[in-house]
């Protein structure tokens, strides 16, 4: 278990014709991973899963976050959340605590055209790597498609 404080949470969602649809996950320092995916599309229902991961998993997650250098970035100039959606990324590592908000990012083009392409690009790729990390864990442990198609 990492000795310093550690926490990460990511949320992406929007409110639209199918209600409040979102995906959210968090890792706590004690290894608890919680994952929720609420999609009303095609009568999908809420998926909520939790499992405790090992210290090795937490350390790898921490490595990915640290190598991204996201902590050095700032969401000040990132696109605001809007009707299309919102993303939140909250990370605590040691004595650093970030809680970034921005809108949904459709593609790299949105990144390039933003006021802070370098910072937003780091966020854009980190979020994809984090989702991939969580999906791998959830998929293998629960044998579900975390995107929600086979439930």
């Amino acid at each position: 278990m990492p000795t310093e404080d550690f926490y990460i949470r990511y949320y992406v969602g929007h409110k639209g014709r199918f209600g409040h649809e979102f995906l959210e996950f968090e890792f706590r320092r004690d290894g608890k991973l919680r994952y929720a995916n609420n999609s009303h599309y095609k009568q999908e229902t809420m998926i909520r899963k939790e499992v405790t991961v090992s210290e090795s998993v937490l350390l790898e997650l921490k490595r990915i976050i640290e190598e991204s250098e996201i902590i050095k970035e700032d969401d000040h100039n990132w696109p605001e959340a809007d009707k299309i959606g919102k993303q939140e990324l909250e990370i605590v590592i040691g004595d650093e605590h970030i809680s970034f908000n921005t809108g949904k990012i459709g593609s790299l083009l949105d990144v390039q055209e933003s006021k802070d392409p370098d910072g937003l690009r780091i966020f854009y790729y980190l979020v994809q790597d984090l989702k991939c990390f969580v999906f791998s864990l959830i998929t293998l442990h629960f044998k579900i498609n975390p995107i929600g198609n086979d439930r």
Partner: protein
Amino acid sequence: MSNRDDMDEGQGRLRSTVNRTDQSGRRVKGRGFGNTKDEEEDRYGGKFDSMEEDETTGPIRSVEGWIVFVTGVHEEATEEIIMDKFNEVGITKNLSLPLDRRTGFVKGYALIEYEKKEQAEKAIKELNGTELMETTIHVDWAFHGKTEGGSRRGNTSNRGGNNRRFTRK
């Protein structure tokens, strides 16, 4: 579990991203510290499914097998190379080898599923600390029971987050 600690950390209603220090002494940054909680019920309410028994300690079984977590994987490793190595100790049922989304190279970790616990145990015992493509790999369980032999402190008082929908119980 009380979520009082959730509430008192969210006091900084800063719209800007000025660095400041919160009560725990952390440097905080970002627009999320002024979040409203209007979506909290949607996002938090309800029960989370789990495979774990309350009293389980040590590694736990996944739905169809036992998962080991490998780190230190070379960025040019392939599924075939990993499978060759991990099939030495038992037949692998599944492999997940995620790529770095920016570079397209292997991100550095892999998840491997064995049908039997003994196979996974053997992988951890025999392959942890060995070399694969001239880098040292680490092999460990991916999942544990909620309490791990007393080595985890049940600290819930000093976690991060001012708007953690999940952490209330």
